[in-house]
Symmetry: C2
Subunit: 381 residues, 2 copies
């Protein structure tokens, strides 16, 4: 088991407008994403949290999903340069999941893009400084854009009861938000963007909470928002939560830096459908991606179900072997699924072994080796 290692607190690991509330709720674990605290555990086990999320509703401080705001005449041009996914038909009010790749077609982020207007975008990022990437590209290319990290702190409401809860606070119009769309709602005289989205396989919403100019006023408003959800949520059996590892792996939701890195291309990550650009669509990494497409990929992201004692993440990947004992992949974070009643994980698997139903061998944390089987993503229901 993992020893209890303390996270050393400093201003560099930024608090959020909700950190006080998260602490009041008895947070036990944090991680760090985009130089900001992300709660990773409260008083329940991951398993208890998993069942609760699948039945009720939770409030998550996901402020670490920082926004890169791009405005100005060249904003669409810049965003389009950053991803192989076409934005041609993207309308205002839409959220697009986009791979961002470098000149080698290596993944450098997999954010959600929000179109606020024809010349205004938010990129809601995973754990890498896309602010610097976007600014570097724009400066080098002399694009007429302004790029900032606005004071926006996403707060997620996730679980099957989230719609009913949100309706009580924001009204019936909440129901009109379709998956991966957003609308603007009023909260105490402020305009707040609310999207139907979230890092779970349940229904849910993300409030892109924007505070006041003054950070201390923002904390106050943020805590009012938290309290409103919390108080209303009591009728829905609300609990504080965070992205749940069992839930996200079952859903096949990848985590940048864990399941894939800049060493991986989007085709390896099963993002083929965002990699068929028109001739006229230029983007960073286009030549490299074409080359990979013509030569074919060598490994691909797959689900693995495996035996052995229930495993928990340690930060040390679990190696995967073929029947001939050749290494064919590694699971960044294996976890026991109480629904599937086996261990599960995500892994890049070499070509000759990636077909669904193939047998593999997974080495557990304790060094013991166990039968595993390649499965579809999301995991079978």
């Amino acid at each position: 088991m993992q020893k209890n290692i303390k996270l050393n607190m400093s201003r560099r690991i930024r608090r959020t407008p909700f950190t006080n509330k998260v602490e009041e709720c008895g947070v036990s674990d944090f991680t760090v994403v985009n130089h900001m605290l992300l709660p990773k555990g409260f008083n329940n086990s991951i398993e208890e949290d998993y069942w609760h999320l699948s039945e009720h509703v939770q409030i998550w401080d996901v402020s670490c999903q920082r926004q890169v705001q791009i405005t100005g005449p060249d904003s669409q041009k810049l965003v389009q340069l950053m991803t192989p996914r076409s934005l041609e038909n993207m309308e205002t009010g839409k959220c697009f999941y986009i791979p961002i790749i470098d000149e080698n077609a290596g993944m450098i982020n997999d954010p959600v893009l929000l179109k606020l207007d024809d010349d205004m975008f938010w990129i809601s990022i995973a754990d890498s400084d896309i602010l610097l990437w976007a600014k570097g590209l724009a400066l080098g290319s002399n694009f007429d854009v302004k790029i900032i990290e606005p004071d926006v702190y996403p707060l997620a409401v996730q679980g099957p009861k989230s719609e009913a809860l949100m309706v009580e606070i924001f009204g019936q119009d909440i129901k009109k938000i379709k998956f991966f769309n957003f609308k603007i709602f009023d909260f105490q005289g402020t305009k707040q963007i609310i999207a139907r989205s979230g890092y779970s396989k349940e229904d849910g919403f993300e409030i892109y909470f924007k505070g006041h100019e003054d950070y201390f006023d923002s904390i106050q408003l943020g805590e009012q928002l938290w309290n409103a959800i919390w108080e209303t949520g009591k009728n829905f059996n609300i609990l504080p939560g965070c992205p749940n590892l069992i839930d996200r792996i079952e859903a096949g939701l990848m985590s940048y830096g864990n399941d894939f890195t800049k060493e991986n291309n989007p085709l390896e990550c099963n993002l083929d459908k965002y990699c068929n650009p028109k001739e006229t669509h230029n983007f960073i990494g286009k030549d490299a991606l074409r080359k990979i497409q013509s030569e074919g990929i060598k490994q691909k992201m797959r689900g693995i179900i495996f035996d052995g004692k229930p495993c928990a993440p340690t930060g040390k990947p679990l190696p995967i072997f073929s029947q001939n004992n050749d290494k064919i992949g590694q699971i960044a974070s294996g976890i026991y699924s109480p629904r599937i009643k086996k261990n599960i994980g995500l892994s890049m698997i070499l070509k000759d072994h990636w077909e669904t139903g193939q047998n593999v061998i997974v080495q557990n944390i304790d060094g013991s080796k166990h039968e595993g089987i390649i499965t579809t993503l999301p995991f079978p229901k």
Copy 2:
């Protein structure tokens, strides 16, 4: 006091070739820098660690000081574009501390630059993805460079006995390395870059440990290097350590993200001497920096000595007030100095209050207010 919050481990928070050794040594705290583990505490208090560092020698895993390697014909041109400090007279074998600023002259990193050759540089970074910044700039500008994060993991040997220890392992030539210079040494048939530098006010070295192609072989070689230093170090009373907050604040060594951020310009950080470019030297942020230089700055980094019960960092800044109770700054991390026998901290202080000897009021963690005084940096001996 800070509650014990666990750091949730995952592959995204990268381990280093030395993490196993650090764990064997009983690490109790980690932080995260550049998506990598940085040890922040072992079995001693910060105070005990401070006295030990000032008298003996310590081994620090500072692998999180990631390198951005820039090679190719345009490498000097690119690096020069990234900083207001002139590299005109920089020779191979030198380390330069350089501010890196954005188009608004905001600090986005304060790394140490190593010149390995006329067309090869390492930027040894603080906590932001300068890899993405450099690559974005280079791609936008069509520069002929290659930019990667090489498999280099700095290991620091710090303290007054570090030279004697290093001589026993690497030979008398260690003595010839001057401060902020590096030379190449052999270790078990591999070439290793060793610089006289480190994030403390004591003498010390940083070994830019480069492993083998295979990461597992690198861990093995890394552990051999750690063991060699550890075994030899026993004669010098060696302990495992990490950047010490008391030592670095006394030395006036700033921490990016803590004491200053992208909201600050280099003049506010007392880096004026690196901000006097020639007419012919172009760099990102030049116009913005000129404007700030002509208008003058509104705040400046200062040392503060203040009364009250011994304070320890919590991640929550301590506000600083004038005698009229106006807010004039904040201390990101205040700490008790057993040498000065008062609390100390670093802070941006507004213009009318930044003169040495001026009196201010600091609000401690518990809310109590105390007398403080502005002091020079480094702190007086």
